[in-house]
Amino acid sequence: MTTRSVTDALVETTSGRIALSAAAFVTFVCLWVFALWVTQLSAVIVPGPMAVVRALWDGLGPQGAFYHHLWVTFFEVIAGFAIGAGAGLVLGIAFAESRLLHVALYPYLVAFQTVPKIAIGPLFVIWFGFGMSSKVAIAATISFFPVVVNMIAGLESAEGERVEMLTAFCGSRWQVFRMVKWPSALPYLFAGLDVAIVLSVIGAIAGEFVGAQAGLGYLLLQFNYSFNIAGIFALLVTLSLMGVGLHLLVQRLRRRIVFWQQTSERVVSA
């Protein structure tokens, strides 16, 4: 076997790819341990892999301490995403279908989009309190933009030729929307939803940083104050697992619904 065919076998088969990823992970852990041994850093400042695994077990094991906070954050993420994405979807349709709205309000939408949404966090905590609603509001605001922008772009992406085809067969404006524009917009919508769900996690955590009584972001600050660095690592792993899980869920939905288009569309950044 030549070097070339070994590489091909690793890259092109599922088991080969899993083996490669596993090897990278093991290498990373070894480097981590080696770096700790060389630098002689205190385990309090930078924990070793075993300490993180232990912290993860304490958090997510059968008697895990994270669960309550995990559910709080999860609820904030999902509720914020649902509200933000729902509003983005409806407003996106309104903007794409109404010339008047588009001309009057779109510049403000673009301007507001440039505001770092996390900066509104403290304001929302004052308005909505320390409970979950302020985090839901931040997550909703932050998920709104990628959805609204992609929805508009998606509806406008509908091929003029297809619209003309339906018009030629006496299609009404509503039928053109339902049968041509809406399906054309779906790949874009999913690109927006994909960005939005990940941003929603960021929004919820940022909100919890500003002021909260529960949630993974709240717990992370608690661990920070008590110098529980291994715990922080465990929380980061938990958060990224949540993010990856939600992202994969959206991807799965996209593949099911937008079955005719398997290459992912370009995302309008938001």
Partner: protein
């Protein structure tokens, strides 16, 4: 007289602000059951003429009538075939054929069996449940022809339907179209830039030249039907196409 176009004029403003005269005093008629082709170079306004009849573009001066009624918008008794198949990729072949029926709220069960019949006529029965991207360009265009007939229109408007296909497929599609046409006997208004395609298909060929789009000549094609590809090698065919080409040559434009 089924289709009547009288002294139609149409100008376009281009993006740079120039005004282009697309159609100048175009007058023509099409009788019931007739297969009429308009042949001309690209940019001679022949597609604009078709879009006016389809109710997709408004005319400036003159008149376009179908069954004595002025054309004011899309009509249910028209079937349109475009240069591209314009199928919807999220619908199956059968669902694509059913699009006009759905849009016009025709009875579902009846339309379904009609669609299956049309797909059979187009030689696509085995592909009813496939998606458009699984089909070749020629097959997609046949689906779009079936779609244009699902609501049983009396008139088919065809805008260079085979120009995107390779020469072999194109000849095959011409034969197929004549077969479908002879089974349904609809009135066809066919746009093309191929002289031989126009002669092969039509009862009558209308020659248009460009800038401004103007009708130069009308020629009745008296080749017997059913037509076969072998006829394209006949002296009668050669003299008809030769005559049409000389019209373009005299104007200094090749179609």
């Amino acid at each position: 007289m089924l289709i009547e176009v009288r002294e139609v004029n149409k100008t376009y403003a281009t993006r740079s602000g120039d005004v282009v005269k697309a159609l100048a005093d175009v007058t023509l008629q099409v009788d019931e059951g007739e297969f009429v082709s308009v042949v001309g170079p690209s940019g001679c306004g022949k597609s604009t003429l078709l879009k006016i009849l389809a109710g997709l573009v408004s005319l400036e001066t003159g008149e376009a009538r179908i069954r004595q009624e002025p054309v004011r918008g899309p009509r249910r008794d028209l079937g349109v075939v475009f240069q591209e198949a314009r199928l919807l990729p999220w619908l199956t072949v059968l669902e694509n054929v059913l699009v006009p029926a759905r849009v016009q709220n025709l009875p579902a069960a009846q339309s379904r069996s009609r669609a299956q019949g049309l797909l059979q006529l187009a030689g696509l029965s085995d592909f009813a449940e496939k998606y458009p991207n699984e089909l070749s360009g020629g097959m997609q265009q046949r689906v779009s022809i079936a779609r244009s007939m699902i609501h049983d229109p009396s008139i088919l408007l065809m805008d260079e339907p085979f120009s995107a296909l390779d020469a072999m497929t194109r000849e095959h599609m011409n034969v197929e179209l004549l077969r479908i046409w002879s089974a349904s006997r609809k009135t066809v208004f066919f746009i093309t830039h191929s002289v031989s395609e126009a002669v092969f298909l039509s009862d009558r060929v209308i020659v248009m030249t460009a800038r401004p789009g103007r009708i130069q000549e009308e020629l009745t094609i008296d080749l017997p039907r059913p037509r076969t590809l072998a006829m394209m090698a006949s002296p009668e065919f050669a003299s008809l196409t030769g005559h049409l080409r000389s019209v373009f040559e005299a104007k200094g434009v090749g179609p």
